[in-house]
């Protein structure tokens, strides 16, 4: 397959207002003839401290692995590669200097402050930037930098241009997605970080212009999630170095609170409970046994509402580390107002989630990454009588609805999206398909899922993080083996001990339609060799 020429195409059709910056926009890929590789959530941060040791905030300690990966990627294949760095490539939130601290908590860094943070990151990661630059210059490759919530400051033009310049590659080889996402020219493949999906606490109003102007100065906005969760990580990562290496990324909150022995969650309880209830990753549920053939149950929301805030606490499994704190907050009346703020859609989402957890635990799905499969099942919400029975066991309607709403907001191109890639949660999909694709008479489960009933597209896939991560189930297994407390576990584990696996999404060059995206892991085998594989297959090291 030959290499195709570089095609620049406007993106006015998408109706996106581009910021007034001179850089080329990101939607520059030719369709089909190029391989697409998506890496998310590197979180290159502040590097080492004055002693030469890794700063506790630094999560990206993997320059050697990255160099090997990029070399292997460049050497593999005859077509050019569009390498999409899908958000949180640079860690511009978790840094002490400059502090970007303002009386109004919703105000984040100004452009000069963000630029200062970026300069420190670039200085700490010269090997990585050199490797990226070499990849971008090689062959017919290109690099696209998509901003995420932790590097949303790239959307300041001065910060974005500095980041692009740091790749030291020709202007047409590295671009920043000022639109806040990347989409292939044929409109079939859409890549975005993922923090704008759902009602997530990390979403920004006005994206891709997440700015607030005060006193004549433009600030990056601080999201709700950043205000409630990031402060917790910032305060405790020095002692517990892997708290933000947990996937999904909210799991660390539970562990930190348990490790520090928090007696109650205080005034933050409602915000934390809401965050944890609604950010529980859908990926913790297997779905390959339900190909979308069954109908969703109808929950009796009137009965649910009579339970009041107790319903919210009951939606946490009994072994959830946050449940004791939530229970105390409930007893103290701290959650009374939270229940009243939930919409019917949110209640349905919780009911779906409870039912899915119940189903997963009733059958001991040890493949779950978030929940001990042997734990107590939740109680289902009351159903309407006509939707009892196994033909009403489709619990993923809430997730599907959220993604469809997001797609509807994104659409505008000539063709509907066929593949949607995101990251942000740090937890990659592994065979989370809810449909089975049949080719050559043989069905197989596809990575990702389709939120459209009876359709095989769009496929949604979470690429996880190009990071060393650990799931709660893996962590709990180590804890049980060593018979230690949460605090001891978090204190003794370091990122270098986490499984040497870095997930990414690959979409091969295609003709008219892209094939299914595949989730891959750049991983180190037992023999020390690095290869790309379909699974991680490695455990925490001693």
């Amino acid at each position: 397959m030959g290499r195709k020429s570089f095609v620049v195409r406007g993106f006015i059709a998408l109706g996106i207002l581009l910021p007034p910056v001179p850089a080329t926009h990101a939607q520059t890929s030719t369709a089909g003839g190029r391989r697409i590789v998506v890496l998310s959530d590197l979180h290159m941060g502040v590097g080492r401290d004055s002693s030469g040791a890794w700063h506790p905030y630094e999560d990206f300690r993997w320059a050697t692995e990255l160099e090997l990966f990029l070399r292997a990627l460049d050497a593999d294949g005859e077509v050019g590669t569009d390498l999409i760095l899908n958000g949180d490539t640079f860690e511009l939130l978790q840094a002490n200097t400059p502090g970007c601290s303002y009386e109004d908590a919703i105000l984040g860094c100004t452009a000069p402050e963000a630029l200062a943070r970026l300069e420190r990151v670039l200085g700490a990661h010269t090997r990585e930037m050199t490797a990226f630059g070499a990849f971008a210059r090689a062959g017919d490759n290109r690099v696209v930098v998509v901003p995420g919530d932790h590097d949303a400051a790239l959307l300041f033009p001065s910060v974005g241009m500095r980041a692009v310049a740091a790749f030291d590659a020709p202007a047409d080889r590295v671009v920043l997605a000022y639109e806040g996402f990347w989409r292939s020219v044929d409109g079939l493949i859409h890549v975005e970080h993922g923090h704008q999906i759902e009602t997530r606490a990390d979403r920004f109003e006005g994206w891709p212009r997440p700015f607030i102007t005060r006193s004549g100065r433009q600030h990056l906005a601080r999201s709700q999630g950043q205000r409630t969760v990031q402060a917790l990580f910032d305060a405790h990562e020095a002692r517990y170095p892997i708290v933000d290496n947990l996937a999904d990324d909210t799991a660390g909150v539970r562990y930190v609170l348990a490790a520090i022995g928090a007696g109650d969650a205080g005034a933050a309880a409602p915000a934390l409970l809401r965050e944890l209830l609604f950010r529980m990753s859908w990926q913790q549920f297997r779905m390959d046994l339900d190909r979308g053939d069954v109908a969703p149950p109808a929950w009796n929301l009137a009965a649910v509402r009579t339970e009041g805030p107790a319903f919210l606490v009951a939606s946490l499994p009994d072994d959830d580390r946050f449940k004791p704190l939530a229970t105390r907050a409930l007893e103290a009346g701290g959650l009374d107002r939270l229940a009243d703020t939930l919409s019917d859609d949110e209640l349905r989402a919780l009911c779906d989630q409870r039912a899915a957890v119940r189903r997963a635990r009733r059958r001991f799905e040890r493949i779950l990454s978030q929940l001990d499969p042997l734990g107590p099942p939740l109680v289902e919400c009351p159903r309407t009588p006509e939707t009892t029975g196994p033909r009403f066991e489709y619990f993923w309607q809430s997730r599907d609805r959220l993604f469809l709403q997001h797609f509807e907001a994104l659409e505008g191109g000539d063709q509907p999206i066929a593949v949607f890639v995101h990251g942000h949660t740090h937890l990659a999909d592994y065979r989370q398909g809810n449909f089975t694709r049949v080719e050559a008479g043989l069905p197989y489960v596809v990575d990702g899922f389709s939120p459209v009933r009876d359709a095989v597209t769009p496929i949604v896939i979470n690429g996880g993080a190009w990071q060393r991560t650990v799931t709660p189930v893996m962590l709990d297994r180590v804890k049980a083996e060593r018979q230690i407390s949460d605090a001891e576990l978090l204190e003794t584990l370091h990122p270098e001990q986490l499984p040497p696996c870095y997930s990414f999404v690959q979409i091969d060059a295609y003709g008219d339609r892209p094939g299914p995206p595949t989730l891959r892991y750049w991983r180190q085998g037992e023999d020390g060799a690095w290869t790309a594989a379909g699974r991680c297959g490695r455990a925490i090291s001693r």
Binding site: F364, T388, E393
Partner: protein
């Protein structure tokens, strides 16, 4: 007419096959005068009759063959008509049918082709179970419904992904069933004549699983062994009271293999949850774990091969050794006392492949083995190795299979019946009776 037939009690002939794995669920064929090797042209066919699809094996009693099947009137719909049939054992003529409607939505549809459970025959009644939990007590003479239950409707059963599989078990006046009902009705006993509930036991906070209940005698008591995905439970079959329970988690609830007893040993195997060898107490209804084998979901899997991870196939115990097919088609011999692997071979199935299955039936010192490739094998086992005596192709596999195999695109996961010097086997298109007699 119906009443007069119903009053006639027909004792089962010694060589009948009235339930799952034959009388007592032990997989033992006591008949003599059967072939030593298969004829070159295959076994003589007594008759063949068309049926619809399903996994359930046939039962044979008092001159009748009972089977269940299913058809989809509209292939675009999950609505299904399930059916029980009785055929004349000698001619294959259909004596009666009994149909009921259901819907397979909620099952994993690749495998949603029909009932799973083998009919259970008891005197003048045959008990059949549909994949969605329709339990019917039928008159063997004409198929009329004596009583029926709908597990989902009557007991709040959440039907698991691969359907209801537990064949009803007759014990005295009780019909003991794996129901998965709520509250605390995973196992239930009904009056076998009326369907009235006698007892219920075990929480359904966890799925019912797919294993067949059996009754054993040990420790001076008759024990109902109910193996479900969280525990191995021993119950008093008369009351449902628990004698003992041993924790044994089976991932995804996949535990279709039947427990196997030999003397004081009681063995359980699953692909994902691993194996447990129990020792039954000789003086009281109690049990302890002799050894455990890792399952495919255990982190140690792949490093410890001293176990057997069968997925569907029920293993056998002979002397001090255990033999069985693991979930990848490998026939293994283990030492009972330790679980130590003695040997393994791919010779029976012919390839390493996922979810491979074989059904073993003992006949004297040898075994008849039905492979899921549709073959029938005569073989002997010893600690020295697997000795295949003879093999013939019995029936073409038609059950759906979602992985690639050398042997072909489909499998046969239906346990045959051995009765009256014949074998009765089914696929999704026909049921066939073939002669095993040494001399015709």
């Amino acid at each position: 007419m119906l009443l007069s037939v119903g009053l006639v009690v027909c004792p089962l002939a010694a060589n009948d096959w009235p339930e799952w794995r034959g009388a007592g669920r032990r997989g033992i064929l006591t008949e003599s005068g059967l072939v030593d090797t298969f004829p070159a042209g295959g076994l003589p066919v007594a008759w063949r009759a068309p049926i619809h699809s399903g996994y359930s094996g046939p039962a044979v009693a008092d001159g009748r063959v009972f089977i269940t099947d299913a058809r989809r009137p509209d292939l675009r719909s999950t609505a299904v008509v399930e059916r029980a049939l009785a055929l004349d054992e000698q001619t294959g003529a259909v004596l009666w049918t009994q149909e009921w409607e259901t819907d397979y939505a909620g099952l994993q549809l690749v495998y949603a082709i029909g009932p799973r459970a083998t009919p259970t025959v008891d005197d003048d009644r045959v008990y059949v179970l549909g994949a969605m939990g329709h339990l019917l007590a039928l008159d063997v003479a004409d198929g009329s419904i004596l009583w029926q239950k709908d597990y989902a409707k009557d007991f709040n059963t959440a039907v698991p992904s691969w359907g209801m599989t537990g064949a009803p078990l007759v014990d005295g006046d009780r019909l003991i069933c794996l129901v998965g009902g709520e509250p605390d009705a995973k196992m239930m006993a009904f009056d076998k004549h009326t369907g009235k509930e006698i007892w219920r036991a075990l929480s359904s906070d966890w799925e019912p699983g797919y294993s067949q209940p059996i009754i054993i005698e040990a420790g001076g008591a008759r024990q109902l062994i109910a193996w479900h995905p969280r525990d191995i439970s021993s119950l008093d079959p008369e009351t449902g009271e628990i004698y003992w329970e041993i924790r044994h988690i089976v991932d995804m609830g996949i535990n279709p293999a039947t427990a196997v007893q030999s003397g004081r040993y009681l063995f359980f195997t699953s692909q994902y949850g691993g194996a447990r060898m129990l020792v039954l107490d000789e003086t009281a209804p109690e049990a302890t774990v002799l050894w455990e084998g890792v399952g495919e979901s255990d982190p140690e899997y792949g490093r410890d091969f001293n176990t057997l991870n069968s997925v569907i196939s029920t293993p056998l115990i002979q002397g001090d050794y255990l033999y069985g097919v693991d979930g990848h088609g490998v026939l293994r011999c283990l030492e009972i006392a330790t679980g130590r692997r003695v040997w393994e071979t791919e010779a029976l199935i012919g390839e390493r492949t996922n979810w491979a299955t074989a059904f073993f039936v003992r006949n004297g010192d040898r075994y008849f083995i039905n492979t899921d490739t549709g073959d029938l094998v005569i073989a002997t086992f010893s600690p020295e190795g697997y000795n295949e005596v003879s093999r013939t192709h019995l029936i073409d596999p038609t059950h759906p299979y979602v992985r690639r195999r050398i042997s072909g695109p489909a499998v046969n996961w239906s346990h045959p019946a051995y009765a009256n010097k014949h074998i009765v086997v089914r696929n999704d298109e026909e049921i066939v009776r073939l002669s095993l007699a040494k001399e015709h």
